[in-house]
């Protein structure tokens, strides 16, 4: 099929149409909106205001807290998701592990179930009065010291969200890393053993290079997904209490659908995208796009 027949491009047509209308057009629309004062409730007063939305954003008292919460949320989530995911992948890959496929299926459930339902369950399990975690701490005798209003206390809310997010996301790492570990030829470990390598030497010389590229891909994707994540935080705390868990996506959503400032909200979205593009874009090109 070497001849370049133009009818072949027709096969891309449905996907092309969808992408133009739901990706490209909205993206351009969003860029345009961020330079406008665009109140949804005042359709006759939309006007071009240049960079004013961005100036307002940088002066927003919630701007720096949002960035900080986003960075903390992303850094701790991704690092611990990776560590937990890798540990379990190593355990599943051990020659002593049993029922690997059943294990994988069951471990994937938190990832497969709607975030709306996960967050509802955790709201109960971590509720201050009858939540199971506080009850367990009470039984263990930590009453007062460790029984907290996990989502309602400004000092515990962010770490609690991070833990729930790790619980939800680590399975994805486990699945990908298990596949990468399985792809490492057994002979390489045997050769290392013949050379008298210890467990850690084997890990450094054989395991780590074997899983490096898949690790890069999942970490890059999770940095993007976590920093721009809306559902987990919105559904657990909606950014509260007193903005203690506010991040750019939740701020953006409230500006748009509670205050109807579509222009200002779009500028938050565009800023978020630019930050991600600068921070992750080069890595994305290097690790994700390289084989394509």
């Amino acid at each position: 099929m070497k001849k370049n027949n133009y009818t072949q491009y027709l096969y891309f047509l449905p996907v092309f149409i969808l992408i133009v209308f739901i990706f490209i057009y909205p993206l351009c629309y969003s860029i345009m909106l961020s330079f406008f004062d665009w109140d949804l409730t005042k359709p006759d007063q939309h006007r071009f205001i240049g960079f004013q939305n961005f100036i307002d954003l940088f002066h927003d008292p919630l701007f720096l807290p949002c960035i900080w919460h986003g960075l903390v949320f992303t850094a701790f989530s991704v690092v611990f998701e990776y560590l937990v995911g890798l540990t379990i992948a190593l355990a599943l890959n051990s020659r002593f592990a049993v029922l690997r496929n059943v294990n994988k299926a069951l471990l994937m459930l938190p990832w497969a179930v709607p975030i709306a339902i996960n967050s509802m369950i955790w709201k109960f399990l971590l509720s201050p009065n009858y939540g199971y975690l506080n009850q367990i701490f009470e039984v263990l005798g930590f009453n007062g010291a460790l029984t907290k209003n996990w989502f309602g206390d400004m000092s515990t809310v962010l770490p609690t969200i991070i833990v729930v997010n790790i619980w939800r996301s680590f399975p994805f790492y486990t699945i990908v890393l298990t596949a990468a570990l399985m792809a490492i030829p057994k002979e390489m470990y045997e050769a290392a053993e013949v050379d008298g390598a210890s467990f850690f030497q084997k890990f450094r010389a054989v395991t780590m290079p074997g899983i490096a590229s898949s690790s890069a891909v999942i970490v890059i994707f999770h940095i993007i997904w976590t920093f721009s994540n809306f559902d987990v935080i919105y559904l657990l705390t909606a950014g509260g209490p007193l903005n203690a868990s506010e991040v750019l996506p939740t701020l953006m959503y409230r500006e748009a659908f509670t205050h109807f400032n579509m222009g200002y909200s779009s500028s938050i979205g565009l800023f978020l995208f630019i930050v991600l593009f600068i921070a992750v874009g080069p890595l994305y090109t290097k690790f994700v796009l390289k084989e394509r």
């Binding site: 099929m1 370049n4 027949n5 009818t7 072949q8 096969y11 891309f12 047509l13 449905p14 996907v15 969808l18 992408i19 739901i22 990706f23 057009y25 909205p26 993206l27 969003s30 909106l33 355990a91 051990s94 002593f96 592990a97 049993v98 496929n101 299926a105 994937m108 459930l109 497969a112 179930v113 709607p114 975030i115 709306a116 339902i117 509802m120 369950i121 709201k123 399990l125 009858y130 399975p171 298990t178 990468a180 590229s213 898949s214 999942i218 997904w225 721009s228 809306f230 559902d231 559904l235 959503y253 579509m262 779009s266 978020l272 874009g281 994305y284 796009l289 390289k290 084989e291 394509r292």
Partner: protein, 285 residues
């Protein structure tokens, strides 16, 4: 069993075996306990839910919560909404993606590499960025509070991932098959239907189950684009009811169970395909 007893040769191995199994069990308990709580809470009376006693299993079983949810919560209607949206998304995304994946994997016209890189780059766009412009556009088109709005959005947002995943299935098919079909006089459309489709059924299963889960699980778009009782889907309804029903955790758990069971069912039936698709997508990049 034979192979297992062969694996355990030394005392140290026995210790490691026990360690791995224990670690495995602890991990499974932590991962699965919340779902265990959800399902048991949906079948036990409220007095055993909001209590200071920990019950490992329900002391008393009741179907009251499910009756409430279906009778007063109108969950049958909302369940059908979710099913309609999710199944339509699956069908639409297959119709859009199969030809494109075939072109990507088999026909490979000039510029295919550019197209696939471009589509992969779209995965960098955060979903939240698209909500506002999509909302304004759908509003102009009069599609707010319709399921069509959700179906179009979900079909598009699952496209990049499904396209690349299914594309890799197609490119793994032996090229000779298509060459000999061409010699026998098949045009490209005929070889898609007669040769490629039957051979890529597992890939289509992966695509279908992935889009189903994405559409069924979504909260952001469903919550933004549909607000009427008539159009609402399950995830949005459960979240809304937390505010309305307050501490009636039994009823909420029943609603959540109704939402989760199809997901668990699809996932347990199709997890082989989903897992292989996810790893292919991420490992190969």
């Amino acid at each position: 069993m034979k192979s297992k007893s062969n694996k355990i040769k030394h005392r140290g191995d026995k210790l490691r075996f026990v360690g791995i199994i224990l670690f495995n069990l602890v991990a499974l308990c932590i991962v699965l306990f919340p779902f265990y709580w959800l399902i048991t809470a949906s079948i036990k009376p409220d007095k055993y839910i909001i209590t200071n006693t920990f019950y490992l299993y329900p002391p008393e079983v009741t179907m009251d919560h499910f009756i409430t949810v279906f009778k007063f919560g109108n969950f049958l209607h909302i369940f059908m909404n979710s099913a309609k949206v999710a199944l339509s998304t699956v069908i639409c995304s297959l119709i859009a993606i199969v030809p494109a994946a075939y072109a990507l994997g088999v026909l490979r016209p000039k510029g295919t590499r550019f197209i696939s890189r471009f589509i992969l780059s779209l995965q960098m766009l955060p979903g939240i960025l698209m909500v506002i412009p999509l909302y304004l556009t759908l509003q102009k088109l009069g599609l707010i509070n319709t399921h069509l709005a959700l179906i179009i959005s979900y079909t598009t947002f699952t496209t990049p991932f499904c396209f690349l995943m299914l594309g890799s299935y197609y490119s793994s098919l032996p090229k000779e098959l298509f060459e000999s079909a061409k010699i026998d006089g098949c045009n490209s459309l005929q070889s898609l239907f007669k040769i490629a489709l039957p051979l890529t059924l597992p890939g289509m299963m992966t695509t279908a189950s992935y889009s189903f889960l994405q559409a069924w699980n979504d909260f952001l778009y469903a919550n933004t684009f549909t607000s009427t009782q008539k159009a609402r889907t399950l995830t949005v309804e459960v979240i809304r009811l937390i505010g309305v029903w307050g501490n009636k955790w039994g009823d909420l758990a029943a609603g959540a169970t109704v939402t989760v069971l199809p997901v668990i069912l699809v996932f347990l039936l199709a997890n082989k395909y989903i897992i292989s698709g996810l790893t292919a997508g991420a490992v190969k990049g």
